[in-house]
């Protein structure tokens, strides 16, 4: 008995160790964000230092940081809202009024997700150029909407399917129209699903860098583009780079923590429940 307990204890320790190793780069980034530039590149690396908000302050007050942050919010939140608006009716009809083609449609939707973005970047870029949509944050948001729509539909669909159909039938017997059924009956009971679909979609759009790097430049670029500018010119201002990165990843990391349970389903299209 005591041997199994010891093994158990060792396994726990191992798990903590794994957690520490995996999280370390993020921890180090956060730590550096609170250092002054001098402390950030000192050798040996300083674990103990006088924390300062100087770098964070500097990163935040750079005139364009706010704009990039706002761009990120517009493209992530805007695209998610639009995707939800399209996905809720779609998932609703597929979950409650399935036809022979529903399964095919669902599979077809994921298949678009399997298409690598580089496979379509060129036509998209050309279309955006012709429409004068390059470097336009709303156009990027539209791109993200299309990108995330399958994931959102699937997350919602998987949830809707488990809602007992009787609820909807009862509402219809009481004389509810389809719109009423949707807004008064379905939406109130599917809060968690909508929230997790929204979170997932926001996370994916926020971290996205391929489309944003190629379709935006100065005006409309979100944080992912701004942060990548540190790769060369200002790469050695570590404290500032860390501070900027930290603020860029923090909102989404918190969302990811909150949504971790629902993420699996959304990311695997229900292949793993």
């Amino acid at each position: 008995m005591s041997q199994t307990r010891r093994i158990r204890w060792e396994l726990t320790l191992l798990a903590y160790l794994a957690a520490a190793i995996m999280f370390f780069p993020i921890f180090w980034l956060f730590l550096t964000g609170f250092k002054s530039e001098g402390d950030a590149i000192s050798i040996p690396p300083k674990l103990l230092f006088t924390p300062t908000l100087e770098s964070i302050y500097e990163a935040l007050t750079r005139s364009d940081y706010a704009r990039h942050f706002l761009n990120s919010i517009i493209s992530a939140v805007g695209s998610s809202a639009l995707a939800l608006a399209l996905a809720i009716p779609a998932a609703y009809s597929m979950a409650f009024y399935p036809t022979k083609r529903t399964n095919g449609t669902l599979l077809w939707m994921i298949s678009t997700k399997m298409m690598p973005p580089v496979g379509v970047i060129i036509p998209v870029y050309l279309i955006f150029r012709d429409l004068r949509w390059l470097d336009n944050i709303w156009a990027l948001a539209l791109m993200y909407t299309v990108m995330n729509l399958p994931v959102v539909v699937w997350t919602l669909y998987a949830y809707f399917r488990e809602i007992p159909h009787e609820i909807m039938e009862a509402a219809r017997v009481d004389g509810a129209s389809t719109a009423q059924e949707l807004t008064r009956v379905l939406l109130p009971v599917s809060g968690p699903a909508i929230a997790s679909a929204a979170l997932l979609s926001i996370i994916l759009a926020w971290n996205e860098a391929f489309w944003s790097l190629n379709l935006t430049s100065a005006q409309a670029s979100p944080l992912s583009v701004y942060v990548s500018s540190f790769k060369t010119a200002e790469g050695l201002f570590w404290a500032k780079m860390s501070a900027a990165s930290m603020i860029a990843i923090l909102p989404v990391m918190v969302m990811g923590w909150l949504a971790q349970r629902q993420l699996v389903r959304g990311l695997t299209f229900g292949a793993i429940k």
Binding site: M22, I41, P116, G119, L223, T268, G270
Partner: protein, 276 residues
Amino acid sequence: MLLLIVWTQIPFVLTIYHSFRRFNLLNPERQGFVGFSNFSSLLTDPIFWTSIQNTLLLVGAVLLITVVIGLFLAVLFYQDFPGRALARTLVISPFFVMPVVTALIWKNMLMHPVYGLFAWVAENLGQRPVDWLATYPMQSIVLMVSWQWIPFAMLLILTGLQSLSKEQLEAAKIDGANAWQEFRYIIVPHLAQTLSVVVMLETIFLLTIFAEIYASTSGGPGLATTTLPYLIYLKAFGEYRIGVAASGAVFAVILANIVAMFVLRMIGRNLQGGRT
């Protein structure tokens, strides 16, 4: 009536998708009919084959690392222990980090030959610090990408594990199975489907890895880390050779579709099963 509108929305959404897909195929012709010359110029370009090789190397190595370590971590976190939720949250965090930021953390703060943490550790151990990205470019990228994708593998495998019935494990224990036998004969077979989903989905995502390379090595040094997506990017936005880039993109799509076919079949089977 409203139902009709709802129904017509779906084809509408699908049409948007479809147009995106179609354009890709049409595009090489848009520059005037050049037939297969884009393809032939690409296929005779040694860079193309290097990039394919790099892509496969990257995907294969990352897959191996993430699945093995992910499996290990999932089994570890399957046990109940105090503070599990917090520890799990820490482990999966890398997955939510912007790929660009991942590249910056690793490139500058950990792998930097002079100021990086690894260099400092190496010096303290009496070794000469290594310029990781210059000396071992592909290995460094693999490390970076693996760090980001281990949580994905782990999270999925953990979810798969949790659907395993405890009775089965107990039965095995009563029959005298030790921990390794339990793992080998019950957990692994149970996870076969989960693992194949992990492998396929990861392959699809990994085939499109771009930001990490863009922000860390820019495909270099030389061509050491130029993968197919990055090569297409270079051709299109570096050399403006849209036609050649597009033909490269066709290959990228073919590569992804081979994998996607398997994934779709599996998900479809799942969909059918869930319905009955």
